[in-house]
């Protein structure tokens, strides 16, 4: 089982490295959308500092959504996914490896990009490390829940629009708790509770989402 996990993880990371362009484009999207907001709301420093956590989080949400189709689309088109689904190996193991690789490659780096983006919003001090921390703890849940949507819309007409409609309402609690932890940290309030909630949500999703995602993949392949 561990060998299977390793094999899938290695393969996924190799494939991601060979096709690094589409992930880099998603990171560029994250930064560009983040830069757009001040043009829309003005460059007042106080306002920017107020909206910084929300803007970075919403932008991260959209970036997670943007890379979700990449999770199964290529494998599905070339037939690898079908082989994996048909194989006698436990679905949660290889799916877990796939999801972990996807998160490491396409989502986790957003946490590295968040502090520079926050600097553009005049963020300072504690925000610069709490913001990426909330992203690291919260985005696994987004990826896991989103993976169910990606599996359900695999090969469906207008999949990307449909995915947004299906998944974004479910992202709202993560957004609320993520932004709230950052805002509390900025105001000098205790924020460890928010971090614990994000981590707990991600752990719960790690247990509940893969079986649902596996069932959806089986439907897509049948």
């Amino acid at each position: 089982m561990i060998a299977l996990f390793h094999a899938v993880l290695r393969r996924e990371l190799t494939v991601a490295w060979r096709c690094r362009n589409d992930v880099l484009v998603a990171f560029a999207f994250f930064v560009i959308v983040g830069v757009l907001f001040p043009f829309g709301v003005g460059s007042d420093e106080r306002l920017l500092r107020t909206i910084a956590p929300g803007v970075v989080w919403v932008t991260a949400l959209l970036s997670v959504l943007l890379v979700l189709p990449r999770l199964f689309e290529y494998d599905w088109r070339e037939g690898t996914l079908e082989q994996l689904v048909l194989s006698p190996e436990p679905v949660t193991v290889w799916l877990g490896a796939k999801l972990l690789a996807h998160w490491l490659v396409a989502v986790a780096p957003l946490a590295l990009l968040a502090p520079p983006l926050a600097l553009l919003y005049d963020a300072e001090g504690v925000v610069l490390w709490v913001l990426p921390l909330t992203l690291l703890l919260g985005t696994p849940m987004l990826t896991l829940v989103g993976a169910i949507g990606a599996a359900l819309t695999l090969g469906v007409r207008g999949a990307s629009m449909l995915l947004a409609l299906l998944v974004l309402p479910l992202f709202v609690p993560v957004l609320i708790f993520g932004v709230d932890a950052v805002v509390r940290a900025r105001n000098g309030l205790p924020f460890s509770g928010g971090l614990a909630l994000l981590a707990g949500g991600s752990l719960a999703a790690a247990v509940l989402a893969p079986p649902a995602c596996g069932a959806a993949l089986r439907l897509a392949v049948e």
Binding site: L170, V172, I176
Partner: protein, 271 residues
């Protein structure tokens, strides 16, 4: 490609008695046709009675005056929209566990009605909010979760309609409904928590004054009317969906022919 991995309930349904009989599409079709007019009639009577009570019997509210009467459509609509989502998820679970297509058809049939009530609740809430709070929209926990519930309904319907293959559409829809149903309380509590942080107590919906008995009775009558209407419409829609899906089978063709000539259908089994 496997069509029916295990002998489905509906295959044995014809020979079995009791409630299992209705897992068979023609039997369920007949049951819907039998029940729907009664629910529609009951809904009509209750609706007329409830609306008469709401407009002519119920006294005006001592604080809000006449405008509070929106409550008689707003609250039943909001309740119904949540109950229908749970019912959808329930029939999704039943369908996934028992492998009955009829359950999925019922879930599909419920979705548009649920979305309708969701929209009615939001719209009537906005119209009620303007004269009482001075705003069409507040980022209150209930309103916000109602809006998100509408998005969940739209997502469900869009997904089911985007998938051509009925088997996959059924099961994908059931999964979405279940995931959504698990998330609805999480969304509600997170929004409530967020709301208490971000907004002062300018608008207090939670401290509703105790209602007079006559108001409660009328509200309950309206709620029942909404229930009856929803059940009738869902059953009729389920009939149409069943006919559309089973159009290749003999019973569906016969049922369609008979419905054109308005003659009762005799019990037939699916070919």
């Amino acid at each position: 490609m496997r069509k029916h991995p295990i002998a489905s309930v509906e295959e044995r349904a014809g020979s079995r008695g009791g409630i299992w009989r209705f897992a068979s599409p023609p039997e369920f079709f007949r049951l819907c046709g039998m029940l729907a007019p009664w629910f529609a009639g009951g809904g009509l009577v209750l609706g007329i009675a409830g609306l008469y009570g709401a407009f002519f019997v119920a006294p005006p509210d001592f604080r809000q005056g006449e405008v509070y009467r929106i409550i008689y459509i707003h609250v039943p609509a909001a309740w119904m929209s949540m109950i229908i989502y749970l019912a959808m998820a329930f029939w999704g679970v039943v369908g996934l566990v028992l492998n009955t297509r009829v359950s999925f058809v019922l879930a599909h049939a419920l979705a548009p009605t649920g979305a309708l009530w969701c929209f009615v609740a939001l719209w009537s809430g906005a119209l009620w909010g303007k004269p009482t709070w001075g705003t069409y929209w507040a980022w209150d926990a209930r309103m916000t979760s109602q809006l998100l519930l509408l998005f969940l309904y739209l997502g469900y319907m869009a997904l089911v309609r985007a998938i051509d293959e009925p088997r996959r559409a059924d099961r994908a829809g059931a999964l979405v409904a279940i995931v959504g149903a698990v998330n609805v309380p999480i969304i509600y509590f997170s929004v409530q928590w967020w709301n208490t942080l971000h907004q002062g107590a300018s608008v207090s919906l939670t401290k509703a004054p105790a209602m007079a008995t006559v108001m409660v009775v009328i509200l309950l009558v309206m709620t029942l009317a909404v229930w009856f209407y929803s059940i009738a419409v869902a059953l009729w829609r389920a009939r149409a969906l069943l006919l559309q899906r089973e159009r290749g089978s003999v019973w569906a063709q016969e049922a369609a022919r008979r419905s054109l000539f308005k003659t009762p259908m005799r019990s037939t089994t699916r070919e």
